[in-house]
Amino acid sequence: MAQDKITLEMVRHVARLARLELSEAEEQSLGSDLNNILVYFEKLNELDTSTVEPTTQVGDAGTPLRDDVVTNGPAPEAMLANAPAREGFFFKVPKIIE
């Protein structure tokens, strides 16, 4: 497509950022889906929003303040119960290279 909003290269870059391994077929189909969606989203550019403040939240302002008290005791067994790999009370992953 001439007015590609998102190239195959960008699809790969975004997939890397999102830690998603995509097959070639997925790269193609996701690329074309995203293109169609982004072309439709171009609609937003019909609106002049240069003087409009963004809305990030619609609730009340002022985050509640929690008292500084310890309410949780140690529960390592419960916290590791769903872990796919562990060693003792550690979660375990393949070796990290720094």
Binding site: A15, R19, E26, V52, T56, V58, G59, D60, P84, V93
Partner: protein
């Protein structure tokens, strides 16, 4: 008799339970029997918790006999599988959480539990609440109880279908862009999405945090009010949850709509809307006028931009919310010899196509060089949409619209056309962007016997007012709910 019990409303069962005419165990058994009978065709649940339900029902009977039972004591309820339930598998309809057992309850679940409600199971949904048909479930779709070849809507399709098919008396869903209201409309039940921050989101697996909201499905407006009252209100575990007091929703159901100014936005009567839908909505407006309300033409001029703004904001938030599914602390993990593989393959294998699509879209919208053009732009449009509603509410007390331009579509019809699917939320999405409450009440059936729902949009924290209007319509006897085909 057992089958009949499952058809009762909460209001009807309450006096039977209190007077001892029926027991919570009998009522629960009736629902479990119904589940056993219809689940093969409906597939409203991912997990049915029959044993636990009967234990809860027995405990509820004790409380009922003591004479001090809260309103939902002994009432069988379905819980969308997006809510964490302590000790009960919570999958979010995703392979990536296929075996996750949370050690905690969502606040809403805890509040229902505290009332003695009976949980019959975890309802099917679109994976991570991403979808409008419940076809994006890793456990297979839910079928519409009024036509098994059609979708139940989504993402809370299981919760809506379960109530429509009498598998439980009420259920909890969540609504981010229409995920309660669209399936309520498709399945012919009542559904309410409260004002953003009215109900705690703690323990509800996040899709889009600034839009997600908890709400009930029921078979009467009064039942929906009862369940909403049980879950609404401040929660110290959710920083975005409002501290405003919760009004007595049931007391608000006076049946009186005289002088009510009902706004009718012209933008919601679009080309391509199914004629049966339009005529049902028009008839409902007439019905309200006959009850003494006034219909007023209003404008919500930015409605057509809502879908674009919504999908950028929601997917951006989702792309971060779903980063925790990495196969390290929970969930299945892909075979991997390096950390990079662990991440990218666990996530590739664990997430379905629509979830991947939205993660990709959201990651893109936030990425360097595109943030302002997409994410910030969408948030500015969100401001314009809020202003539309502020303007409109200077002229009217609530707004009446169709919920969806169509009735339930066929399974598979839109699943490969993501943009088509997104556009089915066109009438519900702007309400989430503005953070307002929206109530869906069945208002008719099309020529194929498929339900049609009207949507009542209130001002922020105006749940009582839309519930009153919905209840008045329901009481006027304009339509009667039809049974499921199974």
């Amino acid at each position: 008799m057992a089958d009949d019990l499952s058809k009762l409303t909460i209001t009807q069962t309450r006096s039977l339970l209190r007077s001892g005419k029926i027991s919570a165990v009998e009522l629960t058994r009736a629902c479990l029997d119904r589940i056993a009978k219809v689940e093969a065709q409906i597939h409203a649940f991912i997990t049915v918790t029959a044993d636990e339900a009967l234990r809860q029902a027995a405990a509820a009977d004790k409380r009922l006999s003591s004479g001090h039972a809260p309103p939902l004591c002994g009432i069988p309820i379905g819980i969308k599988d997006v809510y964490c339930t302590a000790g009960v598998r919570t999958t979010c309809a995703s392979k990536i959480l296929a075996n996750f057992v949370p050690p905690y309850d969502a606040t809403s679940v805890a509040r229902l539990r505290a009332q003695g409600a009976v949980f019959v199971g975890k309802a099917n949904m679109d994976e991570f609440a991403m979808g409008s048909s419940t076809e994006n479930s890793a456990f297979g779709p839910t079928m519409n109880p009024h036509d098994l070849g059609r979708v139940a809507g989504g993402s809370s399709g299981g919760s809506a279908a379960a109530v429509a098919a009498h598998e439980c008396l009420a259920s909890l869903g969540t609504d981010t862009g229409g995920s309660i209201r669209e399936p309520a409309s498709f399945c012919g039940v009542i559904g309410i999405k409260p004002t953003y921050s009215r109900v705690s989101r703690y323990g509800v697996i996040a899709y889009a945090s600034s839009l997600d909201q908890v709400g009930p499905f029921a078979r009467s407006v009064r039942d929906a009010a009862t369940v909403l009252a049980a879950v609404a209100g401040v929660d110290p575990m959710d920083s975005t949850c409002s501290a405003r007091p919760v009004p007595d929703y049931e007391a608000a159901l006076t049946g009186d709509v005289k002088g009510l100014r009902i706004g009718i936005p012209k933008e919601f009567f679009v080309k391509g809307m199914e004629p049966d839908v339009e005529s049902s909505i028009r008839a409902a407006i007439k019905q309200y006028e006959s009850l003494g309300a006034r219909a007023i033409d209003i404008a919500l001029p930015h409605t057509e931009y809502a879908v674009g703004a919504y999908y950028l904001i929601a997917t951006a938030e989702a792309s971060a919310n779903l980063a925790r599914y990495d196969g390290i602390r929970f969930g299945p993990r892909a075979e991997a010899s390096t950390l990079a593989e662990l991440y990218s393959q666990t996530r590739a294998q664990g997430f379905g196509a629509e979830v991947k699509r939205r993660i990709m879209l959201g990651t893109f919208a936030l990425s360097a060089g595109y943030y302002d053009a997409y994410y910030v732009k969408a948030q500015k449009v969100r401001t314009l949409i809020r202003r539309d509603f502020d303007q409109a509410f200077t002229k009217c007390d609530l707004i009446l619209t169709p919920t969806v331009p169509s009735t339930a579509f066929r399974l598979g019809e839109k699943v490969n056309h993501p943009l088509q699917m997104y556009l089915s939320d066109i009438f519900t999405i702007s309400v989430n962007l503005a953070g307002l409450p929206g109530l869906v009440v069945p208002c008719g059936y099309d020529s194929l016997n498929l339900p049609i729902g009207l949507q009542l949009i209130g001002t922020a924290f105006g749940e009582a007012s839309i519930l009153r209007a919905g209840d008045a319509y329901e009481r006027s006897g304009a339509i009667s709910l039809r049974d499921a085909v199974v």
